[in-house]
Assembly symmetry: C2
Homo-oligomer: 118 residues x 2
DNA sequence: CTGGATCCTAACTGATACTG
DNA sequence: CAGTATCAGTTAGGATCCAG
């Protein structure tokens, strides 16, 4: 997703703003993938994410991680190792996104059945 | 959103595919807005959607509606009126997306509090 | 009223190479 | 190892005008 537009004059404004925010926070080709990896597999390093996020380039991964960090969804910690390593982990706050992802997966699964059934 | 990439070798593939599908179905700057309008306000005509979707252009609205229809999330019915009118309504299947939208709104609301609290 | 056709731009994405 | 820099391609989205 990108910048979401949704100013319907007839609907509750606060909820719409919240919806917009949520979508924008999670928009991006890889955000869900990264979040899913992080809370399925736990803390990961840049390199690990490069490997599990099949096809991503360092530049893009870097950008996605920065955006997630700005939005307090993940933490970035630099480790005192010989070759410097960096660990990424989701914040407690980001656990809320699990509900979103689960809802999306549920919907996706049902939709797949629907399509296949045709 | 656009074409979502998420082929993590370490995660359950079917769920990831479902996630990808769901995101792609709902991607686009206005999809959520249109769906929200349709199941908050009921069946609407093209003109109505133009008005409630503040700032959308007919071309974009048309495209979004077509995509939603292709994915069986809305129905399009042409009415036998003097100047032709067209009604759009969500399908029963699309009601599943409410869970997604609600989850997004919930997350968005919590996130706003988090940010404001700082 | 309901769109389709054109043109255009900004943003996202990718490939490649390079640095602390 | 963990990125940044540069360059180039694609595309979603908007402006405007036109048509059934």
């Amino acid at each position: 997703m990108t910048a979401v537009k949704c100013e319907s004059p007839k609907l509750d404004n606060e909820r719409i703003l919240a919806l917009k925010d949520a979508i924008e926070l999670l928009s991006g080709k890889w955000k869900f993938c990264i979040l899913l990896n992080l809370y399925s597999l736990g803390t990961m390093r840049f390199k690990d994410l490069m490997e599990t996020s099949n096809g991503i380039t360092p530049k893009v991964l870097s950008k996605e991680l920065q955006e997630l960090e700005e939005n307090l969804l993940i933490t970035r910690t630099v480790n005192n190792t010989k070759p410097v390593t960096v660990s990424y982990a989701i914040t407690p706050h980001a656990i809320e996104t699990q509900a979103v992802i689960n809802a999306l997966i549920e919907f996706g699964l049902k939709h797949r059945k629907k399509i296949k059934g045709k």
